[in-house]
Symmetry: C2
Subunit: 390 residues, 2 copies
């Protein structure tokens, strides 16, 4: 099974069994062989899988909540594919485990015994389970199990810190790309001698609150938090993360731009952390000429952003929020440690069980000034790659 | 009809009749009143509309090629909506005309008598036609007509240059955002003391060839043109725009990255100008750490780009190709003037009638090394905003 023509590769091409030449994420089947096949690999003893929320919900519906049937299907997927990659939703999740073996050329900085979380998706992580998921009742996204997984040279994993509860650390690492990129963009403006006004749309959520704190830490001239409902306004105000907190419906371009401007904008850097469709034009309109919009919402439409900026003759830089940046997990954890306000918001979110919300309808509320049930700051629905544990 | 509560605005909110508060592009109906309603407006005497290709094809199919019926429907749309905004495709096109009146506060730098093309979409341009489109047979995207249009303070229009054939100038202006942004990104790298290796995917197309020439002009250390078929390789080689020209299927990440690397990569700046889905992972993989990928293809998937980079642990900047940048038309025309190779490629494309191609199937060719019919460098399908005249 392990005899392949593909030479070892930092992105794991040598673990792809089918189809040959595909990337691991696109592959139908990976080789999860338990020993190192490349000098830069790491073998992890698995302790728990965190299935992504969208993928688990699909399984739950498909099997009408029958835990044994859900367990059997997850077990079958992992056995057949050599990875946990839901074929319907295309999503996976993340895992927690302990490093067992580290190849001599691994660049990940891990050592045997380290307790880690993977920050790349299970959809591209070779995985073999050896207990048939017997310890799992199939009734939740947390899957205790035994087995092993493989990290490549270019995988991403983070040591679980000693000073923070694991659930809190995982919730931070889940969205750590947002504060990392926000910090970098703000720091670049500062380095050019023009500390920016920063607006964060969906500022009371996980990625939003971290981004606000990261912006301030990087030297923003002013921070503006935009939230859709009074309860979030009050929570964000209490957290003292922003110089101004304003209510606005992010899907109403004119209202959003007016609210940001009234709060000290337009923004030089606008960070979109709110996972509802239709926020592109408002974000562009709220941003000053030669400013930057960072889209972290997975509900962002590429064409709406590109054509919207063109139609508004807006000379702004439009960034796709890359979930990876060097040192992103360490930076995000450090931002949390340094900000009691962020920590309070996170603890309020991770402490309570988040109910499954129905998909938001892509329509305007009758009265946008009331906020309504839309435009919620979730900021944690990156579709995959580690939904926060419930 | 012109009595509105909305104050004049540089983005034309005062011209929106329905629904109130919408942006002009999102509006169902605009007010095309022929006199200046705001100090920063411009009135243009219209000479010709260029309907966008996708919108025209929809009308052609809906009316089975009946020119009179197509003409009647376009006339009805313009009358009802106060703009040419195809309600099915959501697209419009651009127009050519002569400036008639310029408000005292207009920032566009136009004067009465200037012959111009609009570079923002007809979907947001107030328009009234007064000849019932009588001079048009309904059988092509070019619509000769009389009437007037309105430009806002933040519209974009460009004077048709005296030294270039109008069709050639329009074809350049249609894609001028790509070379402008490429030039800016490359110049930033150069300014930071690290002239970049630049790879352009879809390099023989309009936006691709202009981007290659712009990259060289901005000081790229090396330029690599990627094309899918031998005919384009030969044409691009003859145009002498790139230091290396390579064949690769942009939808095969491993093959694309290998081809770029073999040609002197990885790239510090990768520009995606090829309008087929599935090029995101290859572009990321072909790009060096801390490099930049500029996505100009309207077939780009936001989530594929964001999650792909995350899954590959690729610390790269991902840019949505904004079709607008200050001075973009002037820069692109200047690039063409200075590059006989670009001009030759453009003349070869605009001289011949481009047949309507069927949609490309999103599958791999049996043998990617042959290129096949996919991955063609079109680079001009921005969905709207001025498809090039046939």
């Amino acid at each position: 099974m392990t005899a392949r023509a593909t030479p070892p590769s930092p992105i794991g091409l040598h673990r792809v069994l089918d189809p040959p030449g595909a990337l691991p994420q696109a592959a139908a089947r990976l080789d999860p062989t338990a020993h190192l096949l490349a000098d830069d690999e790491v073998i992890v003893r698995v302790e728990r899988l965190n299935l992504d929320a969208a993928g688990y919900r699909q399984l739950e519906r498909a099997h009408a909540g029958d835990g044994a049937a859900i367990r059997a299907e997850v077990s079958r997927i992992i056995t057949e594919r050599g990875k946990m990659h839901n074929p319907v939703t295309g999503s996976g999740g993340m895992l927690i485990g302990t490093v067992e073996a580290v190849g001599p050329a691994s660049p990940l900085g891990l050592a045997p015994g380290d307790r880690i979380a993977t920050l790349v998706s299970l959809t591209l992580t070779p995985l073999q389970v050896d207990d048939g998921l017997a310890a799992w009742d199939g009734l939740g996204e947390q899957v205790p199990c035994t087995g092993h997984a493989v990290l490549f040279g270019r995988s991403v994993a983070a040591r679980l810190p000693d000073d923070l509860p694991p659930e809190l650390a995982l919730a931070v690492m889940d969205v750590c790309g947002a504060p990392a990129l926000t910090h970098r963009v703000v720091a670049r403006h500062v380095g050019e001698g023009r500390p920016p006004v920063v607006a964060v749309i969906g500022a009371a959520g996980k990625s939003g609150s971290l981004s606000l704190a990261a912006a301030r830490r990087a030297g923003a001239a002013r921070t503006i938090g935009v939230v859709p409902v009074p309860a979030e306004r009050d929570a964000l105000t209490a957290a003292a993360l922003a110089d101004a907190v304003v209510l606005a419906d992010a899907r109403d371009p004119v209202a959003l731009a007016a609210a940001v401007t009234a709060a000290g904008g337009p923004a030089d850097v606008t960070v979109v952390c709110v996972d509802v469709p239709g926020c592109e034009h408002g974000a562009v309109l709220a941003t000053a000429p030669l400013g930057t919009v960072v889209f972290f919402s997975m509900a962002t439409s590429f064409t709406a952003a590109a054509l919207g900026a063109e139609g508004l003759a807006a000379d702004v830089t439009l960034l796709i929020g890359n979930g990876y940046a060097t040192g992103h997990a360490a930076l995000a954890l450090d931002v949390l440690r340094g900000s009691p306000g962020v920590r309070a918001l996170f603890e309020a979110r991770t402490g309570a069980h988040r109910p499954v919300r129905p998909a938001e309808p892509p329509v305007r509320p009758a009265d946008p000034t009331t906020g309504g049930p839309t435009g919620e700051a979730t900021g944690d629905l990156r579709g995959d790659g580690g939904d926060s544990p419930a």
